[in-house]
């Protein structure tokens, strides 16, 4: 899944614009990634101007 580092994220919305499945939402105060919709294409990770997004394989 894609994880947001809130200490780095500048809430600019570039990731929202490029997400092909609309699973990212930028509210008044945070960035929310809906992991159930996410297709793990990692485009958001590549495009983040501040490298605030990383992917993490979930530990079961």
């Amino acid at each position: 899944m894609v994880i947001v580092n809130e200490k780095i994220c500048d809430l600019c919305g570039t990731c929202v614009a490029v997400c092909p499945v609309d699973c990212i939402e930028l509210t008044e105060f945070d960035l929310i990634i809906n992991d159930e919709i996410c297709i793990r294409c990692n485009i958001c990770i590549k495009m983040c101007p501040f490298a605030a997004l990383t992917s993490k394989t979930s530990e079961v």
């Binding site: 600019c12 614009a17 509210t27 590549k46 101007p49």
Partner: protein, 390 residues
């Protein structure tokens, strides 16, 4: 906030507030819903605009002009500078104050503007559209005859409204910018640094904001994004060129450098500004085009409401106006951008060398670009059409 408006606009940037101004001036009831706590903040912008691109849409107020630009400098990878004396004046804005001013003008005419008003849903139903929003923490709804999506590059609401706003990575420039203080800059010259080591597929700008301070930022082509972030590129550039600078702001942003959308209207729906990719794809400039689209869409929306015909057919008057004016230029500029993102550092050096010895008055954008497209002559017409006069 009322329950119903003729026109509800999502987003309080230059596109949204300009649409609000022109719609209210024709008698429509208008609401602007802005997510952030303050109009115009944070500033994710280099703040440059041409005099013409500004004064067509708003009277200049010295309060929000930070400086005047008469020259441009292009710096090659090896540091060679070509100076170009611009025949048209440019301005560096204080975007925070500028965006406020645009909102105030709209408000003075009767538009209602709300901040901390985050729109998260939209439902189109018969002859009206309902927007679902959270306003300072309280869930509420607003109904409108026409919704104008002016929600910037994210364009989530535009997408929910059925517009094809999704951007492919190569059509987006991830950007980072710092406002630097205590640096040596020419207050009347905007500089562009061109090298794939500084900003692959994009450029670095240094736009002065007065004597010893400037907006220094860069965009990289999404085509090359992934290994190193825009911020890392910028940190390296600043360390190399402005090692003593103090850093007053650090912001991120994305610029759509795409073709404008094919479809800009639906029944009771319109999309404008960055959300509609209405940006010069070669330079990334989008303030003026956002205001242009706001003016067209706001005027058409108000007269459509008056005539009680909010069909896509009626609203397409806006699209027609757009397509035959700025839309046409953007197509040409897009072809130039598709070519420009592949320029190598050797190409940049060759261009700089070919203009060596010319005075700033002798250098023109047509000369620069004609030289640059030598290897791709099919683009010469595009160059002549978009830069004639420059």
């Amino acid at each position: 906030m009322k329950k119903h408006y003729n026109i509800a606009i999502v987003g309080g940037g230059p596109a949204g507030t300009t649409a609000a101004r022109f719609a209210t001036s024709q008698g429509a009831s208008v609401v602007v819903l802005e997510r952030d706590r303050e109009i115009g903040v944070p500033v994710r912008c280099a703040e440059g605009i041409s005099k013409e691109g500004l004064t067509k849409y708003v009277d200049i107020n010295p309060n929000w002009i930070a400086g005047t630009i008469t020259d441009f400098g292009f710096i090659s990878p090896s540091g060679k500078m070509v100076v170009f004396h611009s025949p048209t004046i440019g301005y560096i804005l204080h975007r925070r104050l500028f965006d406020h001013a645009l909102a105030e003008i709209a408000a003075d005419m009767g538009a209602e503007i709300y901040t901390k008003a985050y729109v998260h849903g939209l439902r189109r139903d018969g002859s009206k559209t309902t927007l679902y929003l959270r306003h300072i923490g309280t869930e509420t709804e607003v109904e409108a005859d026409i919704v104008i999506a002016a929600d910037g590059i994210e364009s989530r609401i535009a997408h929910l409204a059925g517009f094809n706003t999704k951007l492919s990575p190569k059509d987006v420039e991830p950007c980072a910018q710092m406002q630097l203080a205590n640096i040596d800059v020419n207050p009347n010259r905007g500089d562009f640094y061109l090298s794939n080591n500084w900003a692959p597929g994009g450029y670095v700008w240094a736009f002065p904001k007065g004597e010893n301070t400037a907006n220094v930022g860069l965009g990289i082509s999404g085509k090359y994004a992934g290994n190193k972030s825009a911020l890392e590129y910028l940190k390296d550039f600043v360390a190399e060129k402005f090692p003593k600078a103090s850093i007053l702001t650090t912001t991120a942003g994305g610029v759509p450098v795409a073709k404008a959308l094919d479809k800009l209207v639906g029944d009771g729906l319109m999309v404008i500004g960055d959300a509609a990719h209405q940006v010069n794809p070669l330079t990334g400039g989008g303030i003026s085009t956002a205001m242009a689209a706001g003016k067209m869409a706001g005027s058409v929306a108000a007269s459509a409401v008056k005539d009680k015909d909010i069909s896509a057919k009626r609203l397409s008057e806006y699209q027609k106006q757009w397509d035959k004016t700025i839309g046409k230029d953007i197509k040409r500029l897009y072809r130039l951008k598709e070519w420009a993102i592949n320029l190598t550092d050797t190409d940049y050096e060759d261009i700089a060398r070919s203009l060596d010895g010319l005075t700033p008055e002798q250098v023109t954008l047509v000369k620069i670009f004609k030289q640059a497209v030598k290897k791709k002559p099919s683009l010469v017409i595009d160059v002549l059409k978009v830069f004639a006069g420059f």
